[in-house]
Assembly symmetry: C2
Homo-oligomer: 335 residues x 2
C-alpha cells in the first residue's frame, strides 16, 4: 500500500499518442510541507483536453516532457498540513497520474457527501457540468429546435442529447459505428444518429435534420464541424466545447466556410470552459440530479481499472473506444 | 435623356473579377405594370457583398449570367402605377446597374428628406448602419477595450473605428499601404494602424495591441482573421461582418485555430446581416447623425462618376482603391 507509481510524459507528442509517450516509474512518497496535503488517488478523470494540454498552453500551462501527467482526480487525504482539510477527507481537483501526490490544500475542494463516488466524475463532474452549461448557457435551446452533437457517445455528448430531449428538442447524435449509433437511439433517447465511420456525413445529416440544424454542440472540430456549418439554419448557434479531432494529430484541419457562413447565416459560434462556471456548480448539480431522479437522464460510466492503464485509457478516447464518461480507478473507494 | 444603359453580368466569375465579366448594352425603357414604378437611378451603392452574390445564394438569390447587375440604389420615380409612390419621389431599395428600371413599388421605400443625398448611401446608408449595428449589437464595446477592424479605410471600417473611439475604446485599423494608414490615424482618429501590405501582420498587431484584442470587427476573413484570432483576449468577440478577402478568388483560405482558439479563449464569433435591423433604422440614424453633428464622426465618400464605370468601381474594392463609402453616380441629384 505504500508503493507510489507515477506515469510521466516522456516527450511532446506531435502526431497520435502512443505508449512511447509515457513511462511508468516508482517514486518515494513525497514529503508534505505547510499548506499542503498528501492524497491517495481514487478516481482519475480521462479527458480529451489532456491531449491538448501536451501541445501548448491552454487554460492551463503546457504539460512538459518529464512531468508526471496531471489530471482531474477524486482523492483521499492521507496526511494534512493544511487547516481546511483532515485525514480521511475526500477531495476533488487537479492531481496527478500517481498513486500518491502532494498538492496545495487550498487548490482542492472537499467532495460533496454523495455516493457513488463515480458520479462526482460523471453526472456532477466535469462531463455533466460541461454538457449542462454548454447547452443551457451557450446553446440556449428552445422547444422544437434541432440539436446535433458530435462525439455523442462520449462523456459530454451522451448527456448533451438527453438535455436536448428534456428541453423539447430533436436530438441527433454523431458517433462512430453502428453499435454506438444504436445505443444513442435505443438507450439514450436520441431521435436519430449519424455514423461518421459509414461516410457521407453531409447526406446522413440532411436526412436526420430535414429542417436544418439550430444548435450544433461541437466536441470535435474539423470535417464534422464543416459538415454541420453548411447545414446550420439562420441564427443557429455552435457551442464550441472541444476539438477532439484536432488534438491527436500533427495535421489539424481548418473547416471551410468560416467566416462566410457565419455572416450570411447570422450564426453565433461561442466557446466556453467549464471551470468558469465553477461557482454555479450547485444549481447545475441540483438540476442534473433531479433529472436523474425522474428517470429522464441516464449516466454512462466507462471505468478502466488500474493506474497503469491510464495511457491506454487516454489513447482510446481518440479511437472512440469509450462509451460515456471514461475514468481510471487507481484505488478502491474508501470505506 | 431617354437612353437606357444597362450593365449585365456575362458569366459567373471563379477567380478575380475582370471587365470581361460585364457587358454594357442599350435597352428600351421597360413598360410599367400595375404595382410597379419606373425609376431613374441616381446613386448606386458599390458593396463587396455584390461579388459574393455572383458566387451563389447568400441572403439573396445568386446573380446569374445574363442578368443586369442588381444593386442597392437611390433613385427618382419617373412613372408610378403603385399607390404608395408618385412621380418625383426619391426611393431607396434594390435596383439595377441601369439608367432606368422597373421595380415593384412595395419593395422600395421613400428616402427620408435628407441632404446631401449621398449621406443616404454612407452614414445613414448600408455602410453606416452596418458599422453601427455590428459594433453596438454584436461587438458590445466597453470603455477601455481594444477594437481592431480590418478593411479599416473602407465604407464600414472607416466608421467602425470612430464608433470605437466614441465608446472609449482603443481603435486599431488594418489597411493596405502607408497613405491609408496615415489617413486612419491622422484624419479619422484611430490610435494605431497596421499596414497589411507591409507584411508581418502578427508582429504589427502585437505592437499596436499590447494587451491583446477585445473586439475584432472582421470585414475580410482569411489570413487577417487568423492573425487576429491568435491575439484575441479571453472572452473576446469577433464581429463577422464580411469576408472581403474570400469573395474575389477561386482559392478561399480557411483560418487556422478554429474552433480550438474559440474554445480555450471563450470567444464569441457572431455574424449578422444589416437588413435584419431594418426596422430599427431610425434609432441608429439618429445616433449616427448626432455624432456627426457633434464633430465626433467624419464620413468619407468615394463617388465614381458615370454608370459605365460601375464595373471598375466594384473591381477596385478588391484592390483597395476606395477610401470610405464607394458609390457610383448614374445621374445628377434631382432638383
Amino acid at each position: 500500500m505504500t508503493e507510489n507509481i507515477q506515469i510521466h510524459l516522456t516527450k511532446t507528442p506531435t502526431g497520435a499518442l502512443t505508449l512511447e509517450h509515457f513511462e511508468q516509474k516508482t517514486a518515494p512518497i513525497p514529503a508534505v510541507n505547510d499548506g499542503q496535503v498528501l492524497i491517495r488517488t481514487v478516481l482519475i478523470s480521462i479527458d480529451a483536453a489532456m491531449r491538448a494540454w501536451m501541445r501548448g498552453p491552454t487554460y492551463r500551462p503546457q504539460v512538459m516532457p518529464g512531468e508526471v501527467m496531471p489530471a482531474y482526480v477524486l482523492a483521499e487525504v492521507v496526511e494534512s498540513k493544511y487547516d481546511g482539510l483532515a485525514k480521511g477527507d475526500l477531495v476533488l481537483g487537479e492531481g496527478l497520474w500517481s498513486t500518491f501526490s502532494v498538492v496545495e490544500g487550498r487548490r482542492m475542494r472537499k467532495a460533496p457527501p454523495y455516493r457513488p463516488l463515480s458520479h462526482l466524475m460523471s453526472v456532477i463532474g466535469i462531463a455533466g457540468l460541461t454538457a449542462y452549461w454548454g447547452m443551457i448557457d451557450i446553446g440556449k435551446p428552445s422547444e422544437g429546435e434541432t440539436v446535433v452533437v458530435s462525439a455523442a457517445a462520449g462523456s459530454v455528448g451522451s448527456i448533451v442529447g438527453q438535455i436536448a430531449k428534456i428541453k423539447g428538442c430533436r436530438a441527433v447524435g454523431i458517433a462512430g459505428g453502428p453499435d454506438k449509433c444504436r445505443w444513442l437511439t435505443e438507450e439514450l433517447g436520441y431521435d436519430a444518429a449519424v455514423d461518421y465511420k459509414a461516410g457521407n456525413v453531409a447526406e446522413q445529416l440532411k436526412a436526420a435534420c430535414p429542417n436544418g440544424i439550430d444548435i450544433y454542440f461541437d466536441n470535435v472540430g474539423g470535417a464534422i464541424l464543416e459538415a454541420c456549418l453548411f447545414q446550420m439554419r439562420n441564427r443557429g448557434r455552435i457551442v464550441c466545447c472541444g476539438a477532439l479531432s484536432q488534438y491527436d494529430t500533427d495535421a489539424p484541419e481548418s473547416p471551410k466556410g468560416l467566416p462566410g457562413l457565419v455572416v450570411v447565416k447570422r450564426l453565433r459560434m461561442e466557446g466556453y470552459v467549464v471551470l468558469d462556471y465553477f461557482n454555479r456548480t450547485p444549481e447545475a448539480a441540483q438540476e442534473l440530479l433531479g433529472w436523474m431522479g425522474q428517470g429522464k437522464l441516464r449516466i454512462a460510466e466507462d471505468i478502466v481499472e488500474g493506474l497503469e492503464n491510464a495511457p491506454q485509457a487516454l489513447m482510446g478516447l481518440f479511437e472512440g473506444t469509450n462509451r460515456g464518461k471514461r475514468m481510471v480507478r487507481a484505488a478502491p473507494d474508501p470505506a
